[in-house]
Subunit: 396 residues, 4 copies
Amino acid sequence: MSMQTGRRVGVAFVGMGGAVATTAIAGIEMIKSGSNRLDGLPLAGLSVQGMTDYKDLVFGGWDLNGDDLASAATGHGVLTKQDIENGAQVLKGITPWPAVGSAKFCKNIEGGNRIVAKDHRETVSIIAKDLKRFREESNLDEVVVVNLASTERWPDLTAAVLNSTDAFEKGLDTDDESISPAMLYAYAAIKSGVPYANFTPSVAADVPALLNLAKELGVPVAGKDGKTGQTMMKTVLAPALKARALHVDGWFSTNILGNRDGLALNDPSSLQSKINTKGTVLDSILGYPVEDHLVHIHYYRPRGDDKEAWDNIDVTGFMGQRMQIKVNFLCKDSILAAPLVIEIARVLDLAKQRGDSGAQEQLSTFFKAPMVKNGAGPVHDFGKQQKMLLDWLGVN
Amino acid sequence: MSMQTGRRVGVAFVGMGGAVATTAIAGIEMIKSGSNRLDGLPLAGLSVQGMTDYKDLVFGGWDLNGDDLASAATGHGVLTKQDIENGAQVLKGITPWPAVGSAKFCKNIEGGNRIVAKDHRETVSIIAKDLKRFREESNLDEVVVVNLASTERWPDLTAAVLNSTDAFEKGLDTDDESISPAMLYAYAAIKSGVPYANFTPSVAADVPALLNLAKELGVPVAGKDGKTGQTMMKTVLAPALKARALHVDGWFSTNILGNRDGLALNDPSSLQSKINTKGTVLDSILGYPVEDHLVHIHYYRPRGDDKEAWDNIDVTGFMGQRMQIKVNFLCKDSILAAPLVIEIARVLDLAKQRGDSGAQEQLSTFFKAPMVKNGAGPVHDFGKQQKMLLDWLGVN
Amino acid sequence: MSMQTGRRVGVAFVGMGGAVATTAIAGIEMIKSGSNRLDGLPLAGLSVQGMTDYKDLVFGGWDLNGDDLASAATGHGVLTKQDIENGAQVLKGITPWPAVGSAKFCKNIEGGNRIVAKDHRETVSIIAKDLKRFREESNLDEVVVVNLASTERWPDLTAAVLNSTDAFEKGLDTDDESISPAMLYAYAAIKSGVPYANFTPSVAADVPALLNLAKELGVPVAGKDGKTGQTMMKTVLAPALKARALHVDGWFSTNILGNRDGLALNDPSSLQSKINTKGTVLDSILGYPVEDHLVHIHYYRPRGDDKEAWDNIDVTGFMGQRMQIKVNFLCKDSILAAPLVIEIARVLDLAKQRGDSGAQEQLSTFFKAPMVKNGAGPVHDFGKQQKMLLDWLGVN
Amino acid sequence: MSMQTGRRVGVAFVGMGGAVATTAIAGIEMIKSGSNRLDGLPLAGLSVQGMTDYKDLVFGGWDLNGDDLASAATGHGVLTKQDIENGAQVLKGITPWPAVGSAKFCKNIEGGNRIVAKDHRETVSIIAKDLKRFREESNLDEVVVVNLASTERWPDLTAAVLNSTDAFEKGLDTDDESISPAMLYAYAAIKSGVPYANFTPSVAADVPALLNLAKELGVPVAGKDGKTGQTMMKTVLAPALKARALHVDGWFSTNILGNRDGLALNDPSSLQSKINTKGTVLDSILGYPVEDHLVHIHYYRPRGDDKEAWDNIDVTGFMGQRMQIKVNFLCKDSILAAPLVIEIARVLDLAKQRGDSGAQEQLSTFFKAPMVKNGAGPVHDFGKQQKMLLDWLGVN
């Protein structure tokens, strides 16, 4: 376990009532009270100077659903009844701040706990005030924003407004339609000097306008799209297939999941954002385009918050002979995601302390489409990503 | 493809008529004739100064079965009829040299093509002459011995004869029962200055007596137990589970295979050798003992030379919640093994050129129980092994 | 094996150059020549009075692709090179008759070997002449037509023209757009007194207009959509789940296949026909609607003519506890389908001899959406279907 | 649900503290109290004259472990904490009667709640008294004994004492070693006119001595070895493979389970009893010996009371082409078994009412090795067994 620094770090979640956020919060609160172990927390075994302790994390955040977190968590079905009872006192006491919602960017998910603002400018001002109030009221040394909201549709990345800081500022003034809710959160955080991570497939901070702003203002950012189940496995297996020169003829990936995330993906435009971030991983690792790489995600209610992936991989080896690998991963989406979110927040806080700004590539292992500092493509090989992280932390 | 150096390297297989050797030989001969691609050859894409080209490999070896290689290959059912026809001219022309056999060390497999010798000393002398003749008749720059024979039973590793060079020499004189056929080949090779690799689970050169001898005489050696299917996958997946702090509660591995290898493993003492080399991999990578790690290998004829592995992995993640990963690998044993054997031979020849002697750790990626230079435990993490190899080759 | 009656039965395939037809023809020709066993032929072990012997079958048929069957079969990749060589003499000598094609009913598949006719009437007249010529030239006791052509889009089943024989006749005169190519073949066969089977998901003879005509004219018909892989398995498993009172909460079925059939299903309207015939099976057997029953079919080229199904079944048992069954079927579409087609032809010929007309329910076991004589729903339970067939044959 | 007859039937379990018995008892008690549905109870949907209602069942039984059932159930980990709390009042109030144990017949499982008796005769007399007391104190219309104890080793079936009623009687007098504890329970039940079912793989009543006695005394008996998971699936799939003439080249079955049952199977002699009952099912259904039929059962603690089966089936179809089916069944042993045990008791009571004595073949569907009335082999085909049961019940 990392050393106890006493450094208080606030984590403000966009989508605080969701399955991942409530699981993360409940889990950390249970660690504070001694009823949860450190399983699943990737950096739990390391001793890194300056990194805040799990027990010094404090939580806040926004959600369109204004229910207290105990109610929200009960609905997600991730935590056991026992877990919720154990953490009830804390969870019941937390209610999300009003959030930004836009049916234009995400159709399926709605809720009534909305920021009332006449335009983009007023919205970002309210978000910034939320952050300031959180920092002051909770007596925090630092705040980190982590986006866990439902996936937004893919924007037009060539829009001028997304490609320079100036144009973006003007876009805020003119209520430009290309600016999504996730971008408003990202902008408000960066302007407030608050590190920002995007765990969703939404574009959010991954546009030149916001990346440049982050660099200018010395704010670390990271993203995008948490790498938990099938894609993680893909980035673990593909490097080995490449090392053994087994040519990947096809990779068929199907997923079934029954949570709110899955429901949102029933909206084809949100699904496309997801497929975008999943797609290039494989070709990038292998060094050639896999001609039959299919990825499907299906909303299947019996699975609940559990998520099941079935992958079939066809490879050609020596003498042109063909083999197959099939992987069936019965995982739990939020259980895998929640501890990653916690570690991302801890590392972003450390990056800020170290003066690192802009895209934090050392966090690549936690993302399907890692944001990178310069034009070079991201590293997807899981082993190499892990080495990058441990090297940066200084513990390898 | 590596540069054509013109350096002729002979590969002498112990167990030349077996499925792996015949596949390796046929595959390389077909590369020479242009009818096979480089799929499955891990180092095919690299350009390494001094490493011999696939086309400059020449094959010889011993086998208890004296059939020509075309007949032997037909029996194994690995190569297609078409392949054997294509390579028939070459394969028909190759007949294995008489081999050493001992029912004490390997019960199930027998054959009549045996070295006639009155004792250990005469046996090693005949093996050494085989190597000398092979080098001269084929006009070779170097020879490498690779052991592909059936698995021997596990010897008593505490026997004095295996623990010092002197004792071993005396053991040869007294026909000591602790010295197995695989050790006789290893000794003869090392004494002849010929690099030796052990692709089988047998102990062979992995005893102090022979390792010291190799170091003294400047001979590179490598082993043991080729890592092709299930164990390879294990060393690919386990580091990722560790990186994500997913605690492995159990790992159930079962294998079905129908080739001569499987039949030999029906002898419980040979099976034990195999299980020994498979067993420690997991605990070593994870850093804790997996309490329920079961490995089973079954002789199942419908699978023929194909090999199928089914793994079930139980992990505990955040909040103590449990998940499962199941991997079904429909692989072809000899098709995976043959190209590794080729690369091991090429790297051992390069090591000899570079003056590296004793255990060649950079070859760890190809072995279930890598031999190491000093007392430290071997590296099992597939990604780290791959990095070691590429670093040694100077191509990373 | 059934008794040799000497009764010569001609089988005329719609889609004679396809993978199923060429496999069926090659297999029977190889049985004639003694180089194929009776594996996979469901009725091979039975002795049924009057049923024609495999050796007395004669083949003809239509295809938009005019290539000889040896060329066609080579393209499908189902038969081995050796098989095609063995059967080459026969297969090379068979060339499909010109066929009916309509881009309106099936988009993806085209070919130049087309019937030249100015309208529906002339088309059916040409088909009828083909059948007459086939019977005479091959000296046949009976002819059976089996539709194996690519799936057509689902027609408007409420169209008047499909609901009475008179309206259909008028529709032929007016070149009605609701009449598909498969219906033209069915009509021509029935009018010629020739039994007709529809092994595709297309509607074909399964409309009142044609069913009534078949009954009137004493012609047996059967269909539709051959039950080979995943759906067969579904009708095998579901009755057992019902017998054990395990409630099916969800059934997720995905398929990957790489043959021409898969390509055709890339056209969403053809896919819909397939999904229609697959969909109701489960609910019908279980007696309640499965709320999450998903069926997906994907075109995935590495699989070639092989077809792979992965099913995940979620059930609730005693005490409300949940369990899962996963089935991975690595099958070969045409290898499973071809012998069923043969048996269907043999049984239809026998039905004609026995004077049975209209829908032949005893053939239900071979179809995903069995045609039935009266308004009652079809039997889908595999075991009950098998009993129906054996009872009808008189061998149970 | 069956009609409420008011007929009170007592079920006396041998092994009452085990996972299956406690699950059965808790489940029925929860049905009585309205907190459990009828899922998983195969006959719940039927209306059969004379069959007792679930709510009229009363439970008793023996166990070497004398803990109350709430404690016992907690240890098994089958029921949720919530379930046990709901049923606590009843379960806490039930304590097993002292039981017969013999280390000679079952090594691994022991406990201190033992019948104190000097010999076989006194033992059966105590068991008979237990049954009498149970009937009187609970005011029962009928009692049924169901054996759920740990598997015993396979006895020498040729022993004279097991082959005639007279010899058995003498064996009781002489404390014959061939008579196992399960046989003592069976004898005592039959002599008391109490129907007896053997849900374990132990031989118990399936010897001529006891079968004849049951027939003589008009007592129905049934067994043996409950068919819940993998074997059930085998008897569901095999008939379909036979119907399609797909030749089974091999069937590899492996099981992992972590409950007390699995632990007992670690004793090779108990395992052999299990393998015996599992083995013949397949060949019997297919009509030919499957040459590579392997069945393995492994004790693997992470699975707890859940049981996982992985089956790989190799078949040959038309044209000699090979296909594979793989089935992964993630089931819960006691959850599947408990409702079968309940139904067996209800049917045996009904058989007694109807005057049926000896082996009750209509219960075949619930057993891996069904006991049969005469010399003919048992029916294993799941569909046919189901039909036999429904026909006997008069509801088909």
